[in-house]
Symmetry: C2
Subunit: 303 residues, 2 copies
């Protein structure tokens, strides 16, 4: 299977601590890197991860709180110093341009590449990025400020060719793509060889969704139905549910309940508050949704 890997660069809430950087992740889809959120110091984490800076062309910011975007200028400047020439696309809610364009203009005069800032509508879901292997959708989260979740979904891929069958029936190379796409094969004698004898099923379509920061928001369950890996913030324990509501965050129990609602295959929780032990937050989520894991700096998950 082609690569579809998630790297956790930071998973702490609000304040960086000795245990956690603030929110940032990189999704590696067939060696194209997609960053989600970009907190302070994340360029150092990116270096530690040994991911190739030059393969990162798209950064998705969920919202304009410092713990989700204070690393952006560092990343942009470092890329300039490293001689980058490829355009870097940064997506985020309204306000992205107002706050970052003046900084880019001030700090990055004369750099050899362009940063394109894309402001998204935080009130609706839309396809915001598309290439031949993946589509990225935005969707609304429910936070104190405009906040956007991101869904990364592989495109339907072709069936796998069975080399032995192709050889046995003497099928010419020019026909391979048609057969991969599902066509049967008619021999020179007029016999029809059904496609399922010539191919094996395609790889399953994989998907990853990122929900942070947000209150429990069941309206997104339909869009995320069946998602392979769901990242959902779990800032609080259920004991502090009122506080979670007041600050527009979620409890671990709510994150797990949302994973159930959208039939996620696996739940990844993060945005850990320093007031708890991560293990306690994980235990609460697992009591509702067993297949839950806790984010951790340096963790790499193959989806």
């Amino acid at each position: 299977m082609e690569k579809f890997e998630l790297h956790i660069l930071g998973c702490g809430a609000a304040l960086p601590t000795p245990h956690h950087f603030c929110s940032s992740q990189v999704l590696n889809i067939r060696e194209k890197l997609f960053m989600v959120d970009c907190s302070e110091g994340i360029q150092m984490q990116l270096r530690r991860s040994r991911l190739k800076f030059s393969h990162l062309n798209h950064i998705f910011i969920t919202h304009l709180h410092g713990d989700h975007c204070f690393g952006l200028m560092g990343v942009i400047s470092t890329f300039a110093l490293l001689g980058r020439t490829a355009t870097l696309h940064v997506y985020g809610p309204q306000g992205l341009r107002e706050i970052f364009q003046p900084q880019i203009d001030f700090f990055c005069q004369g750099m050899d590449y362009t940063v394109e800032l894309h402001e998204l509508d935080h009130k609706q879901s839309e396809a915001i990025y598309d290439d031949r292997s993946v589509t990225v959708y935005s969707f609304p989260l429910k936070h104190r400020v405009p906040c956007i979740g991101y869904l990364f979904k592989e495109k339907e891929v072709m069936r796998h060719i069975r080399r032995d069958a192709i050889d046995a029936f003497g099928i010419p190379i020019s026909q391979i793509n048609n057969i991969k796409a599902g066509m049967d094969w008619q021999t020179p004698d007029g016999d029809i060889i059904p496609n399922h004898l010539l191919t094996t099923p395609p790889d399953p379509i994989r998907s990853y969704a990122y929900c942070s920061d947000t209150m429990f928001s069941p309206r997104n369950a339909e869009l995320l139905e069946g998602v392979d890996l769901l990242y959902h913030e779990a800032t609080f324990l259920q004991a502090h549910e009122l506080l979670a509501r007041k600050t527009f965050h979620s409890t671990a129990q709510q994150a797990a309940t949302f994973a159930q609602l959208c039939h996620a295959k696996k739940l990844l929780i993060g945005h850990f508050s320093s007031r708890y032990e991560d293990a306690d937050v994980l235990a609460e989520a697992q009591s509702v949704f067993a297949n839950t894991i806790a984010a951790k700096e340096g963790l790499c998950i193959s989806i």
Copy 2:
């Protein structure tokens, strides 16, 4: 002696590396903390240093290159989240307000303390801060953009009282400060007791100067004459002197020559480029000025 300690939080040039954070230091003068430069991720370094956040009220930015100020918004935000109420003063060259005030307004709405941004004249030396124990002077550095060095100089302090002599002559408490200030004591019988019998000499006046980023700039030697500890950037080896000149930086040899010129008691070098081993840069400086040490994250120097 009262505390006069320098903490190195970061000492790398331009790009943070696995070995070095970018430029930032904290000077602890009698438990008042003064930060010089504030690079990305420095709030994490500040936490590691165990210096008390609440004792930091003054931050001095040398110039508006990202590797010297990208940590400022993180520090300001974290202080707000920790419930700070005391005003934070940030000093720097012109442009400081243009670039940081909009960010503070955007990211720190409703915080319980004020950040005062002080724009300094980068073309002349002036006293910019003063309390009962220290005066801070700005002075011009020679870089690609307006750039300011900072000199921290203790004030003349009073002589130490000799408890035993005070007791022996029955001198009342009301007179102690006069005696510390140098006055003699007249006994009720009219005898004059000279001050040197009642006191011991005051602690020497200590000073610390920060020169980064800058070309070799001998015009500052007079102001920094006899400085106890001189921090001077040493971005390049002398072999790359042309490159140093082109980028308005210094070589290790130039840093050491400047330390000689101003008769510094000790030289501390930093702003290390990742192209060299720090040890090679140190060796070059030491060959000219023996009492040189290399900055390193976590290093604490008592001045």
